[in-house]
């Protein structure tokens, strides 16, 4: 030993068990932070990948750029990639309700958006076109390269006088390629067809030519700042800027602070720091006498502090890298073995950020944890520390006589002593209980997350059984007979039939009977569309709304969407009672309000307009979302009626959508053929199979559960080590006292009982606080998460509380086993001499 610091290492070497426990504690804590970080990063990466796949690799778009501006953008140092889009117009066919847009894209944009070819090549020369595969099927176009067809296309634009106009033309196109379907295209009935930019230039008048630039900001720059900078340097109106919010939200490049996640991380951090603090605190307490000795031979308080910090640093240097490695292996095992796809990570992403953060947190935790014990140790008066046996720091006793007599009668004198021992060193006990309590809190909170995410509910939100049959627009409906024939197919469990009308159903309102936000939205966003200008009836504004007719089965299952009021199916059947859905902006209607609608009636056979009528509906309830929708929305609100009332008001018999559930273990193919047959009765009808999505969601559900449970196990382990560590130390410190007790005749059995009771009391007190705080915190977390995760539910977590109580008591008692063995096997004489 050349320097006094050498003492630190001698101590660490001598107290192998203690050093190992300390290392293990830090390793586990760091591993927890690391794995949470890696999980987070991997999930984020997976989500980014998903958005990139879905929406394309761009941060934003600027619309209406001229060639000069585009070239500036392309040359900008902060911009990595620019893709150009010029719309040609929309193609409509009378016999179909599909929306088909024709656009000119450059190669860059094709790559950025990530479209790929199944056959042929991308358009290059004039009038060459590439279509999506499903569209070819739907429109019954021969999927042959070189196939020529003539399409009409139209484009709406604002002329120089500020009026809306429609440009219409037609051209012959040559099919040069077939591309993969865009996600969700078929379900919503919208398709994209690509031509070259030159084709658009040739086909459209110059005035209508619009160039939009999609761009990707260089990775080293802040996306938001760059966006703002580009916008102001190119002088682009806000109207012409579109930001890929879905991507930016995931990348965290938005102003929204994710409180629930921060809250969760804060809990984990506090628990981790608490655990490490505890380890050092007791490790110092254990050596108080030693520090007293050092002080008495002239060690300065500063030197003692330095020794302790050296120790902390040394331990960190070993345990933090190991902790990171363990965390990495843990998350790698979990993520790669579970091959979590979609929504969740599918590859392990270890960023520098995670490693650095974990190291800093670990190191900080160690140093924060050492600070206080070091101060205590350096303050120890040499005489006090040396002279006293275990009561080095002032040990007070709280006098809780009531408890005492109860404990005395329950557990005898040993029980009473055990309880009093708990409070002999308040600080130490508080630290122990604090760390156990944190373990309990983490357990309850994570169990809550695990159980609250009711995945069947999410499944229900996204899927409507096994299949859907939909017809999107126009007058086309499936008939009551179609419904009957579906119901008659063998193996069908349930069919929910939905009636729908997305036009000719207009909300009538005055400026007086809506709130200002809604009025502003209406005037700024809606009135600018040409066909709204004339739309005013009896001095009232008209706003196109969606109206649905739900059957009894569907109405009985939409409680979870209900925000206000109630769903009285019986009354809805007979009275004009409606459920109101705020689409974009809340007009401020309340339950019980009566609102007017202008309804256009059409002949159900030939689709000819008959007449308009005015109706009044009473709002029976307000929903926060469309329980079942048609994939497209009007500008106005949504109204849900009972199917009978829908029929009375709109004079429509047919259905727009069927959601079909089948019996389990049925040969799907047979049913699918029949259902597709029914679907194809109406051109533009869409058949959707949810099998894949359902399987995916179920897989995800399992995987997320496993992930959360694994985290709970790690948390449990940390808690366990912490408790074992604390209790072991608490007991070893008192070896001499136990020796004396044995000298005056305590039997081993009595000693064991006393010590075990002490462990049990730690468990009980911690479980008490942990349950209360864990419940409160899980509730706060629920409140924070609720807005985004509407599927979350909160119940008092009785099962977790029970688990926590049983767990902590068992752990508390278990933790006494090792030290007890040591103490009771120790020679009394040795104990009394208190040689460690």
């Amino acid at each position: 030993m050349r320097k006094y610091n050498g003492l630190t290492f001698k101590y660490l070497k001598k107290q192998k068990q203690r050093t190992a426990l300390t290392l293990l504690g830090i390793i586990l804590s760091v591993a927890l932070i690391t794995s949470i970080g890696i999980f987070g990063e991997s999930i984020k990466h997976g989500m980014v990948q998903q958005v990139l796949d879905l929406k394309g690799k761009y941060h934003g778009t600027f619309d209406n750029l001229d060639d000069k501006e585009i070239s500036i953008l392309k040359k900008h140092t902060k911009v990595k990639n620019v893709g150009i889009q010029t719309p040609l117009g929309g193609y409509r066919r009378e016999d179909s309700s599909l929306t088909i847009s024709i656009e000119g894209w450059d190669k860059n944009l094709i790559d950025m958006i990530g479209r790929s070819l199944l056959k042929g090549r991308w358009p290059r020369d004039n009038n060459e076109i590439v279509l999506e595969r499903w569209l070819l099927e739907q429109l019954e176009i021969e999927p042959r390269i070189g196939n020529k067809f003539t399409w009409k296309y139209d484009m709406t634009y604002i002329d120089e006088e500020g009026k809306w106009n429609n440009y219409e033309s037609e051209a012959e196109f040559t099919l040069v390629g077939i591309m993969k379907d865009s996600p969700g295209g078929k379900a919503t009935g919208s398709s994209l067809s690509l031509v070259s930019i030159n084709t658009v230039k040739n086909l459209l008048p110059k005035a209508l030519l619009n160039k939009n630039a999609f761009f990707w900001v260089n990775d080293t720059y802040s996306i938001k700042d760059t966006l703002d900078e580009l916008q102001s340097s190119l002088k682009i109106d806000d109207d012409n800027v579109r930001v890929n919010y879905e991507l930016l939200n995931i990348l965290g490049e938005n102003d929204k602070v994710n409180f629930p996640i921060i809250f969760l991380i804060a809990i984990v951090l506090i628990a981790t720091i608490g655990a490490i603090y505890n380890i050092f605190h007791i490790s110092v307490m254990e050596r108080i006498k030693e520090f007293g000795t050092l002080r008495s031979i002239g060690t300065t308080p500063k030197q003692i502090k330095k020794m302790l910090f050296t120790e902390g640093f040394f331990l960190s240097v070993i345990s933090i890298p190991v902790g990171i490695l363990v965390g990495f292996i843990f998350s790698k095992l979990l993520i790669s073995n579970l091959s979590i796809v979609n929504n969740v990570a599918n590859e392990v992403v270890v960023s520098f950020k995670v490693i650095i953060t974990s190291s800093i947190v670990g190191l900080l935790a160690v140093f924060i944890s050492i600070y206080n014990p070091a101060r205590l140790a350096s303050k120890v008066s040499p005489i006090e520390a040396m002279g006293n046996d275990s009561a080095v720091l002032k040990e007070g006793t709280t006098k809780k006589r009531k408890w005492h007599s109860l404990l005395n009668s329950l557990f005898g004198v040993t029980g009473k002593m055990a309880y009093q021992n708990l409070w002999r060193n308040k600080k130490r006990s508080v630290v122990t209980i604090f760390s156990m309590t944190l373990g309990c809190i983490l357990f309850i909170v994570f169990s809550f997350i695990n159980s609250s995410a009711d995945f069947d509910n999410i499944l229900d939100d996204h899927l409507h059984g096994d299949y859907s049959i939909m017809v999107n627009r126009g007058m086309e409906k499936y008939s009551v007979k179609d419904l009957e024939s579906i119901n008659n197919i063998e193996g069908i469990k349930e069919v929910k039939a939905i009636k729908f009308r997305g036009f000719g159903f207009n909300l009538m309102f005055n400026e007086e009977n809506v709130n200002s936000d809604f009025l502003k939205y209406f005037k700024e966003e809606i009135l600018k569309f040409p066909h709204y200008n004339q739309k005013k009836k009896n001095g009232q504004y008209l706003l196109e709304s969606d109206v649905f007719g739900y059957d009894d089965k569907t109405l009985s299952k939409i409680d979870k969407y209900l925000e206000k009021g109630n769903i009285d199916i019986k009354r809805m059947k007979e009275k004009p009672l409606a459920l109101f859905i705020n689409s974009r902006v809340d007009p401020g209607y309340r339950v019980g309000d009566k609102i007017k609608f202008n309804v256009s009636l059409f002949d159900s056979d030939d689709g000819k307009y008959i007449r308009d009528k005015e109706i009044e509906l009473e709002i029976g309830g307000i929903l926060n979302f469309y329980p079942i929708n048609m994939g497209i929305y009007s500008m106005g609100p949504g109204i849900v009626l009972h199917e009978d009332m829908f029929k009375d008001i709109l004079e429509i018999d047919g259905y727009s959508r069927f959601d079909i559930s089948i019996e389990p273990k049925i040969i799907r193919e047979k049913i699918e053929n029949k259902l597709e047959g029914i679907t194809n009765k109406i051109p533009g009808g869409t058949f959707v199979d949810y099998e894949k999505e359902k399987k995916l969601l179920q897989k995800q559900k399992r995987q997320i559960k496993i992930m959360v449970i694994s985290l709970i196990i790690v948390i449990g382990l940390i808690g366990f080590f912490n408790i074992v560590n604390t209790i072991t130390t608490n007991l070893i410190i008192r070896t001499r006292e136990f020796g004396m007790l044995r000298a005056i005749g305590i039997t081993n059995k009595q000693l064991k009982k006393m010590v075990r009771l002490e462990g049990m009391f730690y468990g009980i007190v911690s479980a008490f606080w942990g349950s209360i705080l864990g419940t409160i915190l899980s509730f706060i977390l629920y409140l924070l998460f609720k807005q985004e995760a509407t599927y979350m539910k909160w119940n008092t977590p009785w099962i977790s509380i029970l688990g926590v109580c049983v767990g902590t008591i068992i752990v508390g008692v278990l933790a006494t086993f090792i030290p007890l063995k040591r103490i009771s096997s120790m020679n009394i004489v040795e104990s009394i001499r208190n040689v460690e």
């Binding site: 002593m417 009093q420 000298a743 059995k749 009394i828």
Partner: protein, 227 residues
Amino acid sequence: MDILKSENLSKTYGSGEISVDALKNVDFTVKEGEFVAVVGSSGSGKSTLLHLLGGLDRPTNGKVLINDRDIYTLKERDLSIFRRREIGFIFQFYNLVPVLTAKENITLPLLLDGRIIDNDYIDELLSTLKIKDRKEHLPSALSGGQQQRVAIARALATKPSIIFADEPTGNLDSKISSEVLDLLRISIKKYHQTLVMITHDEEVAKTADRIVTLEDGKIISNEVVVK
């Protein structure tokens, strides 16, 4: 009548070359009511002898008989019970339980034994030892002398046949020491107890009935004090 008897008592620490013979074939008897002082230099085996006589440690060889019972034939549990009923210990560093009050410390051996506390007797003990007004205090609120008096009271609480004291005043100044010793002597006389005490202090030793001197683990003199 001999209350305590050791035969051929030996204790060796360690084994092989590094073994140390702390006690070598000690034969030793104490009569009922006798006050024996054990003296000797540091490392002479005094404490080892006391621990072995009191059943705290197990001898390498030999026997200890208390009231004609060979205590090392007892099982651990029975030995514990025997200790708390028949033997009282007083240590240099008091060794009180810090979470218990003075009175609770004194009655602890009784409580461990599940016995009903004879409050009159305990009060009498407290009075005799002049700590009656401190009985509700925790050890940390007591002075060294007071703590040692509590330890004496604890040793006497079960009315044991024999009390072993290991330098009970080693940690106290001379004035307090003589006060504590006086009280100890008064107490054992009053309750007819036997006392075996280790001491460094010749003056203290001279107040005993007999002085046994140890050296190198052997008794080198055993003299009755002539008063």
